[in-house]
């Protein structure tokens, strides 16, 4: 049982990393970035290339993946979202879905449909704590996720650009009147969210030793579920939602059959949307007329 908790925590912390990107973008744009799962996939591929082809050490490969995905995220925003800043929601939404399909199939065309192995580039030790088996890689996932989340919290709460991000999320027009370049802050938000997704992509890719072009879809949806569960727009909510979802999924698979794994996440999503769409820590957004 305790073993499941450990598994749930590792899975959940990676969901949380993905959920953060959704939540941050939603905070500034009120848009669900459908292409986020594909950016996660792109991050995993860049990490794979950096680690396997270029032979970079793990930490450098990770940073390369994060930087690369950040660039992809900013480009996506520039092409598909910025021209539609004043367009109705439905148009932006369809554009986002189009971008997601485009990126997935671009990876398919460039990389081929096969699943590539992504071995962990260092030796993994098994730690035995009582009956518990924890691999050093689980510890690495947890530490990296927690480290990134603390870093993000610091960035958003303590720095000037974080303050600008919060101001843009609060009210774009007023923020721009205060001399904040709204477009630059939105691009920055995409960059940060994408970098976090890439970190998750590399970690999960290594954990399952598999990277393929459609790997982004399910984690993307689950990251979104986690974001909604915690309350879209709330950064602590995304972390909490990710951990809860990871736990629920691991427990659900332990209790039910594993074929229903994905249905569990969607069931939770449906339930949250129906009962409390604002999520656990989210604020209730009133529609402006």
């Amino acid at each position: 049982m305790l073993q499941q908790v450990v598994n749930g925590l590792t899975l959940g912390s990676s969901y949380a990393l993905i959920a953060l990107g959704y939540t941050m973008v939603y905070g500034v744009l009120r848009l669900i970035n459908f292409a986020h799962g594909e950016i996660y996939m792109a991050g995993a591929f860049i990490g794979l290339m950096a680690s396997q082809v270029a032979g970079l050490p793990f930490a450098v490969a990770m940073l390369t993946a994060m930087a690369g995905a950040a660039v992809v995220g900013v480009i996506v925003e520039r092409i598909a979202y910025r021209p539609l800043r004043k367009a109705p929601r439905l148009a932006v939404l369809i554009s986002a879905i189009g971008m997601s399909i485009f990126l997935r199939n671009l990876a398919l065309a460039l990389m081929g449909p096969q699943t590539r192995a992504f071995p962990i580039p260092f030796e993994v030790k098994q730690l035995h704590v009582g009956k518990l088996r924890i691999s050093s890689f689980d510890v690495l996932i947890l530490l990296t996720s927690v480290g990134l989340m603390i870093g993000l919290h610091f960035l958003v709460q303590k720095t000037k650009i974080g303050k600008a991000m919060r101001a843009v999320a609060e009210d774009k027009e007023t923020a721009s009147l205060m001399g904040i370049s709204v477009n630059r802050i939105i691009a920055f938000t995409f960059a940060i969210g994408s970098a976090l997704a890439a970190a998750a992509g590399v970690l999960i890719g290594m954990n399952f030793n598999a990277v393929d072009p459609s790997m982004g879809m399910m984690p993307g949806l689950k990251g979104f579920t986690a974001a909604v569960l915690g309350g879209v727009g709330s950064i602590p909510g995304a972390m909490l939602g990710g951990l809860l979802l990871g736990m629920a999924e691991v427990m659900g698979v332990a209790l039910l059959r594993s074929e229903w794994r994905d249905a569990i996440a969607f069931g939770i999503l449906a339930l949250v949307l129906l009962v409390k769409p604002s999520g656990i820590l989210g604020r209730n957004l009133q529609e402006k007329v």
Binding site: I97, G98, D262, A263
Partner: protein, 353 residues
């Protein structure tokens, strides 16, 4: 005579036309983005297929039953989800679509991952084309009815529509149920043409393909949906000859198509330009004026009901223009005069991202 190749292409095109028209009712006319439409097709296909293959029922009965079961699921999914808006609705429908697919994959009677075999061939071009024409005809009737106009009103401005006494959720659910039912019938035709069903035929990718058809043709436009369905059915076949790469990676181009259409021509190839996508005339008006328009529209509907003098054939577009004229004549002429400015407040905000 047609070669078997073109015959099959036309059958598929007819099925796709039904799918596009049914999604158009939900997404184009009512403005509710659904990303799980293929799941309803799947439900219809499996229901009809199982009824003829396992229970030996006649094809016609199976087809109708498939549509009915799909509509029932449309109701079950629609009631909870359609209270949600925009992005949430899109994700929720996507989620339900996937749940339905996973369920089909894990059931015994559907053959699970091995697929459903042994369905006999009943669909032919005549049946498929007749069904497509029938759906098209009902759609034109539907969109010229009070119900259709209410859907358009919800799409253009849900708050204003509700203020005018339109039960938005009920109308949206009804549109969803009708759309799901037709998708189920399309699924039944699909099942009895290909004679083999697999859950992967009804996955997210198929929903996106149908959405691409609707968007390419023009959301809310019936002719557009037909055109989009025919073009996107034929395009991969055509491109196979020109460039195998394009045909093989057609999803790549569907994705790009969706983005480019939204950037360049959000109303689609033959769209009317008032699909709620391009900040329509109505949307640009202030709240007070919208209220006046709503009042005028409501009055118009009431008059129509009483006297029946107005011709029923006026389509939504001209009604809207009449209404705008009416509204501007009857009080909203205060554009620029104090009232509208004061009441409106964040009127423009509504369309903003």
């Amino acid at each position: 005579m047609l070669s078997p190749y073109y015959y099959q292409l036309l059958v598929i095109a007819s099925i796709n036309v039904i799918m596009a028209l049914s999604l158009n009712l939900v997404t184009g006319c009512a403005g509710q983005l659904s990303l799980g439409h293929a799941a309803f097709m799947g439900i219809g296909a499996y229901t009809a297929g199982i009824l003829t293959a396992v229970y030996d029922l006649p094809f016609a009965v199976a087809l109708v039953a498939g549509g009915a079961v799909a509509a029932l699921f449309g109701l079950l999914v629609g009631i909870p989800t359609l209270r949600l808006k925009g992005d949430y609705l899109a994700i929720a429908t996507l989620g339900f679509g996937e749940i339905i697919r996973v369920a089909i994959l894990n059931m015994k009677i559907t053959g699970g991952p091995f697929g459903l075999r042994g369905i006999s061939k009943h669909t032919n071009l005549t049946i498929a084309a007749c069904a497509a024409v029938l759906v098209y005809w009902t759609m034109t009737r539907l969109m010229n009815s009070r119900f259709g106009r209410a859907l358009v009103a919800i799409r253009e401005d849900e708050v204003a529509a509700v203020a005018m006494g339109i039960d938005a959720t009920r109308h949206k659910v009804l549109a969803f149920v009708i759309g799901a039912g037709w998708a189920g019938i399309a699924g039944g035709l699909f099942a009895h043409w290909f004679r083999y069903l697999h859950p992967s035929s009804f996955a997210f990718g198929t929903s996106v393909e149908i959405l691409s058809m609707v968007v390419l043709g023009g959301m809310g436009s019936l002719e557009g949906s037909v055109l989009g369905a025919v073009v996107l059915t034929y395009a991969p076949e055509f491109l196979r000859g020109v460039s195998p790469f394009v045909s093989e990676h057609r999803m790549l181009f569907y994705g790009a198509l969706l983005v480019v259409m939204m950037l360049v021509r959000p109303q689609g190839l033959v769209g009317e330009g008032t699909t709620g996508l391009r900040g329509s005339k109505l949307r640009k008006l202030k709240v007070f004026e919208r209220f006046q328009i709503g009042k005028a529209r409501h009055g118009l509907a009431a008059t129509r009901k009483k006297s029946g003098n107005l011709k029923d054939s006026t389509d939504t577009c001209t009604v809207k223009e009449q209404v705008v004229d009416l509204a501007i004549g009857s009080g909203a002429g205060s554009k620029g005069a104090g009232v509208a400015g004061q009441v409106s407040g964040g009127g423009d905000e509504h369309a903003g991202a």
